[in-house]
């Protein structure tokens, strides 16, 4: 990491939450990621941007082994979460995904009540029940900035909510299992500007308690919400730095051409 990056963070000691080391990923014979190295900082929002097909989603999905469900996926290198390699075959993937939650592009609530959506994870992990579960659901909905809008209709179907509310419900669902990291894959691409603004505000407030990694096509969103930005191109990290530096004075010409709309 460059010294300029460290200086830009007001002398805070940045702790690495996830260390991606020389990560390569193949789908069949196609190599999607090529020797990616990335230090994702704790309690910060890290944005991953790049043109379509550059490997953004593959990278984020590697961070909680979502690529495991793809039959011909092969991975090389290491991803250290709190210093432990999550690609190791002995890792409990269910526990990993509790620690590293994920929010997807399209809101995908279960066809259940608002309450049951949030309570689902804690129930199957045996984390809470009864009054304790009620409190956990409320806390998760509050943290996702949705409580005030749904507190009087918790038994209603989650599918009755608006798109933006459904996405915040999905975030509440992810928070309910008390993760350490939240991965967001284009979380606002299906939302209108008002709902997008709420999710963006939420991303920034979530970093107080969680490490947030967001994949986005929207460069202005990366500029607004993130502390660090990585630019991926053809499966390689071209530039990774303090977001302020990346958007004011990127060091790589390819990054500059991408963020100024000269290609992509």
């Amino acid at each position: 990491m460059s010294s300029r990056l460290k200086e830009g963070k007001e002398n805070l000691v940045e702790r690495t939450k996830i260390q991606v080391k020389d990560l390569s990923v193949w789908f069949g014979s196609t190599q999607v990621l090529r020797g990616v190295n990335l230090d994702i900082k704790e309690n910060r929002v890290t944005a991953i941007m790049g043109p379509s097909g550059c490997g953004k989603s593959t990278l984020i999905r590697t961070l909680n082994r979502m690529n495991d469900i793809i039959a011909n996926c092969r991975t090389d290198g290491a991803v250290l979460l709190n210093g432990r390699n999550i690609l190791d075959s002995t890792i409990d993937v269910v526990e990993l995904r509790r620690k590293v939650g994920m929010v997807f592009q399209k809101p995908n609530p279960f066809p259940k009540s608002i309450y049951d959506n949030v309570a689902f994870g804690p129930k199957i992990h045996g984390m809470a029940r009864g009054r304790e579960l009620d409190e956990l659901v409320e806390r998760s909905l509050r943290d996702a900035a949705l409580w005030d809008e749904v507190k009087d209709r918790l038994k209603m179907s989650a599918l009755s909510l608006s798109g933006g509310q459904q996405q915040r419900l999905c975030i509440a669902r992810a928070l309910a299992v008390e993760p350490e990291v939240i991965l967001m894959d284009e979380p606002c691409s299906a939302l209108d500007p008002a709902a997008t603004a709420k999710i963006e505000s939420l991303m920034v407030s979530l970093k107080k308690n969680y490490t947030v990694v967001v994949v986005t096509h929207n460069m202005q969103q990366a500029a607004r919400v993130s502390d660090f930005t990585a630019f991926l191109y053809l499966g390689e990290v071209i530039e990774y730095n303090d977001t302020k530096v990346v958007f004011n004075n990127p060091s790589n010409r390819l990054t500059e051409d991408f963020i100024t709309g000269r290609f992509g």
């Binding site: 990127p250 390819l254 051409d257 100024t260």
Partner: protein, 219 residues
Amino acid sequence: MSGATLSKVRLLDRGLTELASMLNEMSKIAQQTVSASIEAYLEGGDVTLQVRQWSDTLLNYYQKVGEKSVELIARFQPVARDLRFIRASMEIAYDLSRFGRYAYDISMILKTLGGRVEFGRETVAEMGKRTMRMIEDSIEAYRTRNQELAERVREDDRDVDKLYLEHLQYCVKNPPRRVEQLISDVLTVRHLERIADHAVDLADATLYMLRGEYSSTWR
């Protein structure tokens, strides 16, 4: 690295071209404005009306550059070198408008205090020549994105500052009998010194645009 396809047209580029065009026009007017006021001071002519008109035009352009810049930021959310170009353009437009204002102030000196000024004439001529060259160089550095030339403007400013301070000391030791000659002279060299400072600001804005960081030197 291959595979990137460069797009030919960006809507933002139209606005950036418009900004550059306004700055080019301002540059021409600013140079002729300062030049006319120095010449009139040295020769004892009255160009107040003409210089006022040009100065107003520069001020008008400065406001237009600001409006266009804000519009481009609001509409396109530019980043990196596009954003730096816009910021630099706003600052350069300000410097160019200040050239006009100081030129007008110089032209007003003779009108207010009267007559051709003999005291300190050589210094005014020398400072005027150097200041004009700094203006030309700073504009050329911006136009051609020439970092070396922009750096030279900063160096030239040290010579102008030295001339200015030495001349003030000379004035204290050798004041002319007619006080209006002293006032005219001191005001003029002061305005020229400030014009030179704005030429440095203009060059610094060019360097910022090219390098992404500002010099922190206080003048």
